[in-house]
Amino acid sequence: MVPLSYYLILSAILFCIGMFGALTRRNAVGILMALELMFNAVNLNFVAFSRYLPQPLLQGQIFAIFVITVAAAEAAVGLAIVLGLYRNFQTINVDEINLMKW
């Protein structure tokens, strides 16, 4: 059986890859993809902890289901916003959309 810490370290690596993408990508769709990677890392943590608890409980998996649902809602609204941005600015590079920059 794989130790719990393997899963946690894998999840940390996945989360940080996603965070790097979210911090450095210029394309808004690329940022959304990186966000999905971070959601996946969190889900992996939830499921791993729920499996490795001393008594068998499923609460972690319930939370992962809710995270997946919220991620789906986020993707739908985020992509609609991206389409609106593209219609108004003809670009979705987030560093070129500086209408409200001080």
């Binding site: 130790p3 894998l10 940080c16 450095t24 993809m33 992996l44 998996q61 319930i62 289901i65």
Partner: protein, 167 residues
């Protein structure tokens, strides 16, 4: 090394490699394809963790739903070719430093905090008990999340609609 560990390492390598490609590839369509492999890797890890229902939901929702949505957005918004343009902003250096620091800190904390946590041998009976929990203990969050999905759907339609009156 047991079979389980071998499967774990294969899945982990697939997930990490694909997610690196998602973050670093130039072409956004390639990123979306790599994202599919990352999602499949995580689904495989869910199976390894005795979470079959979540693995199925992962494949259906992420691979079947979100990736397709992302591909639509890419094709609707990308210019003819992004070749030659830089894909990252000027924060690459500091973001790399921060990310490596956080990975190191988390790995250290995980190795110190959970040195030999071992799973109980009996996996909890999965799909049936998940459904029971969702419709008894967690019925209120379940309903709230369905309302959230409805609101997101209406919001996405309103945001993505073209203003016909203005044209």
């Amino acid at each position: 090394m047991t079979v389980t560990e071998g499967v774990f390492f294969v899945m982990a390598a697939c997930t990490v490699g694909a997610s690196l490609l998602v973050v670093l590839a130039r072409n956004l369509v390639h990123c979306a394809i790599a994202l599919v492999f990352a999602f499949f890797g995580v689904a495989g890890l869910f199976v390894l963790l005795d979470a079959e229902f979540l693995a199925a939901a992962q494949v259906l929702l992420y691979v079947g739903g979100i990736t397709i949505l992302l591909l639509f957005a890419i094709m609707l918004t990308s210019r003819i070719s992004a070749g030659g343009l830089k894909i990252m902003n000027e924060q690459v250096g500091i973001a790399g430093v921060v990310v490596f620091a956080i990975v190191g800190l988390l790995a250290y904390a995980n190795l110190r905090g959970f040195p030999d946590a071992v799973a109980p041998l009996t996996a909890p009976d999965n799909t049936a008990s998940l459904g029971k929990l969702l419709l008894t203990t967690y019925v209120l969050p379940f309903e709230v999340v369905s309302l959230l999905l409805l609101a997101a759907m209406v919001g996405a339609i309103v945001l993505a609609r073209r203003d016909r009156e203005k044209d």
